[in-house]
């Protein structure tokens, strides 16, 4: 298989402009004859749905929550980047592009990243027009803050609820299209399979989560906007429902899965409290602007923070990285936290935590300013831990947060399957091996508002709505039967363990063996264990209830079954990538100072995996990455 990224020729500054001109257009009068399915109503899906419906396409959206507004994007706290240079601090499209490529540790496609930076400014304009109440200065102008890993202030925010406000903007735009009859939103509807026929995506199979009914949906193009797969680790900062089923089912039907091992660990989460823990809570990275991270200098120092004198504290990030200090990128901050905890200097229960201390900032700025900036985050922390961060430092620890990997897409955001587009976190495109803070919201909305609406036209213009398959075509009826059979099988096992117990076991194995630090040994062990867990799952899981009813255990069982397969690919990818880069840290590959060591000679590529069967090895395809503009260098934040 030849991977064609379809990156336009010419200087990077003109590629998108040229491409927009070169792409085919669908005649305005014909647009309403084309039907597009969009799975997912997060930032990427809702913005795409609203935009495509406005253009005149017939749009059919699906989400598993009870409302489009509840997609996981709602939980994003910190902000969204854009190269507006409102702060006059030297920001530019080129700098945002440069920062993103460098932050991604040179494992992203330059042309895509440049386009993202180019579009970023229009996103803010669009969101403001839709009524997103971004933070303002007293002058009435938009406010910015700086966000982990950059030295310019380019992040726009709405208190600590930026994702909520951006999503409500896109959701309201989509709601308007629903009212006009141009879009439909099917809630409590889960895509359980992709239908492919003649090498083209033809539609999807959907389970109605209230009645259990399985139905076939046919369209001229299918868009997956189904978010990331961090929940393969069980404990992550993602919402409980986030899952990989849509992209994994598409992968099984032929879509290549790229860079699955590029997962991001967020340095500032509330540490695990106990066995019952169902998810982890992120404390926005913006806290690192004013909080100082430290641990005691002495091992096993159990004194309360207040009793540890200044001289006996190690502000290790400030010490090791004087230029960036507490604002080093996420992977660097996370790894250093693990290192000090592994060295016995961690704080709190189990020694799995480091302090994030606001005492100095409160002294300098006053409690009011800190409350204004982070009030809601402090409250959330207090509510969960019953500790008051105005009086004592927060305890934080890294947790899985974001998936840079995802389905492989070309410059048009189309997978290798004709007619299957993938947007938002579900694709692998723009963040390389590490995503910078506030860039996921930017990418989701760039994809949905300003990229897909153009590129999908190029796909649709090549097909005729008359060739759309009828939902009773054998390709659909076979897929329906398969989905029915899978449900029957899961319900019929009637074993002795719950779905959750398998998910926890899988997640713990992944976190221990394929988390912040990975080695040949740990990965080989995981690759031996996962098939055993999977086998036991299919022999011993207990799924109560029936297929024709609201059955949350059955929903979860299907998702966990897919996670089991994805976990294996994740570890295989991590084992194959014999280098460290971004969020992927192989202990065998580090510099003398313990920093990630890339191997550009052998691994400057996207690893795109082809599915060959649940029990057979996948095939690796490589898309070489060329860096014409940003010269790969060892990242340094010293």
């Amino acid at each position: 298989m030849q991977l064609n990224s379809k990156v336009p020729s010419g200087p990077i500054q003109g590629k998108w402009e040229k491409h927009r001109f070169d792409m085919k257009l669908v005649n305005p009068a014909n647009k309403r004859r084309y039907k597009v399915i969009i799975v997912g109503t997060g930032l990427a899906g809702a913005s795409a749905g609203a935009s495509l419906a406005q253009m005149g396409y017939e749009v059919d959206c699906f989400c598993f929550q009870d409302s489009a507004r509840r997609a996981h994007s709602i939980a994003a706290q910190g902000g969204i980047n854009a190269a507006k240079n409102y702060q006059n601090d030297g920001d530019s499209v080129y700098r945002l592009f440069y920062d993103t490529v460098k932050g991604g540790d040179f494992r992203a496609r330059e042309a895509n990243v440049y386009r993202l930076a180019e579009i970023s400014a229009s996103i803010i304009d669009q969101c403001v027009a839709l009524g997103v109440p971004f933070a303002r200065e007293y002058s009435g102008y938009l406010a910015n803050r700086s966000f982990g890993g950059t030295q310019v202030s380019r992040t726009f925010y709405a208190r600590g609820q930026t994702g909520q406000q951006l999503l409500l903007g896109a959701y309201s735009a989509l709601s308007r299209e629903v009212a006009l009859g141009r879009a439909k939103v099917n809630t409590r509807s889960e895509m359980v399979d992709l239908v492919v026929q003649g090498g083209r995506a033809r539609g999807i199979i959907v389970r109605d989560l209230v009645t259990g009914e399985l139905t076939a949906h046919s369209a001229d193009a299918v868009v997956l906007a189904t978010g990331g797969y961090s929940n393969v680790f069980y404990l992550s900062t993602n919402a409980k429902g986030c899952n990989a089923t849509a992209i994994w089912r598409a992968h099984r039907k032929g879509a290549l899965f790229a860079n699955p091992c590029f997962t991001q660990i967020h340095p500032t989460c509330i540490p695990v409290a106990g066995e019952h823990q169902s998810k982890l809570t992120l404390m926005s990275e913006s806290l690192r602007n004013d909080g100082r991270i430290w641990v005691p200098k002495k091992k096993g120092d159990t004194r309360p923070a207040a009793q540890i004198p200044e001289a006996e504290r190690d502000y290790y990030l400030e010490r090791k990285y004087p230029a960036f200090g507490n604002l080093v990128p996420r992977d660097v901050a996370s790894r250093n936290a693990k290192e000090v905890c592994d060295g016995g200097r961690g704080v709190g229960p189990g020694g799995l935590g480091v302090y994030l201390d606001f005492a100095e900032a409160i002294g300098r700025l006053g409690e009011n300013v800190i409350r204004e900036r982070y009030g809601n985050l402090f409250e959330m922390y207090d509510r969960i831990t019953a500790e008051d961060p105005y009086r004592q430092p927060m305890r934080i620890y890294p947790a899985i947060h974001y998936a840079m990997g995802g389905l492989w897409v070309d410059y048009n955001l189309m997978s290798n399957l004709e007619g299957l587009h993938v947007v938002g976190e579900a694709n692998f495109s723009d963040h390389g091996a590490n995503r910078l803070g506030a860039s996921a919201l930017m990418q989701g909305l760039a994809d949905g508002y300003f990229v897909l609406p153009y590129t999908i036209g190029d796909t649709l213009a090549r097909v005729s709505p008359a060739d759309r398959l009828k939902p009773d075509h054998p390709a659909f009826t076979e897929a329906l039967d398969e989905a029915k059979e899978r449900g029957r099988r899961l319900l019929g096992i009637n074993g002795k363990r719950t779905v959750d117990s398998f998910h926890r076991e899988l997640g713990k194995l992944l976190w221990d063996n394929c988390g912040m630090a990975r080695s040949k040994e740990s990965l080989t062990e995981a690759l031996a264990r996962i098939p055993q867990i999977r086998e036991e799952f299919w022999a011993n899981v207990k799924v109560p209830g029936g297929a024709s009813e609201l059955n949350q255990s059955l929903e979860q069982a299907g998702r966990v079954a897919d996670f089991m397969e994805l976990a294996e690919l994740l570890c295989r990818d991590a084992l194959t990538r014999e280098e460290s880069c971004g969020g992927h840290f192989r202990v065998e590959h580090q510099t003398e100072e313990g920093e990630a060591q890339r191997d550009d000679a052998n691994f400057s590529h996207a690893a795109a995996w082809e599915f060959t069967g649940a029990d057979t090895a996948p095939i690796l395809h490589k898309e070489p990455l060329e860096f014409e503009y940003v010269h790969p260098a060892q990242r340094s934040y010293k």
Binding site: D125, A129, G131, P133, A239, G241, Q277
Partner: protein, 255 residues
Amino acid sequence: MKLTLRIWRQDGPRDKGKFVAYPVDDVAEDMSFLEMLDVLNERLTLKGERPVAFDSDCREGICGACGFMVSGVAHGPQKLTTACQLFMRHFKDGETVVVEPFRARALPVLKDLIIDRSALDAIVQAGGFISARTGSAPEANAMLIAKPVADRSMDAAACIGCGACIAACPNASAMLFTAAKVSHLGLLPQGQPERRQRALRMVAKMNELGFGGCSNHGECEAACPKGISIDFIARLNRDYLSGSLFEKPEPLSSV
């Protein structure tokens, strides 16, 4: 600690439903209410019983998916807190806790604690938006918005659409939910052109869907996990009144 949970069990929309008591003997203080239900569900599953169905997703108090009545109070006894952020340290050993779904004619029960809130989406579809076609937006800083105005708009925009205000209201009115959206958009300069129509359309939809009227009980504000102020209802009433006086309800147009 030991608790007795009296939980509403209802197989489906047409089932009558009833309370069933479940003793839970090992509730930890740092569990969230939902984590406690998770633990109960694991046990029920292993015993071959049907687990309790309830909605949740973010578990951070922002998506609005969770929510039920805890001993008669929407989202439970902690002020400004969703059920997913309610921690068990606020309960006492030996307590009996009654758990039942939000009840309102317009939000029917689907199963156990899960309700159908699609009526809230329908209210937003009726007018809870600013019509700004993708690509048509002017430069963001071309329009200045005074900080207090933006902040006030954000106060209203913080609504998570959980439905607690409706469950708490003796009339099962959706006024606070609707008022929050009308105020969020109506406070902003971008929201002015459609301001009156928005109020007319959303209120009409609300009435059509079977939500009750507002008689100023104020229970909604007390139950709101996001502290949305009842003052916004006064704003909605003003917009609705001026809409009724000066404009006729017009159908939504695509251009």
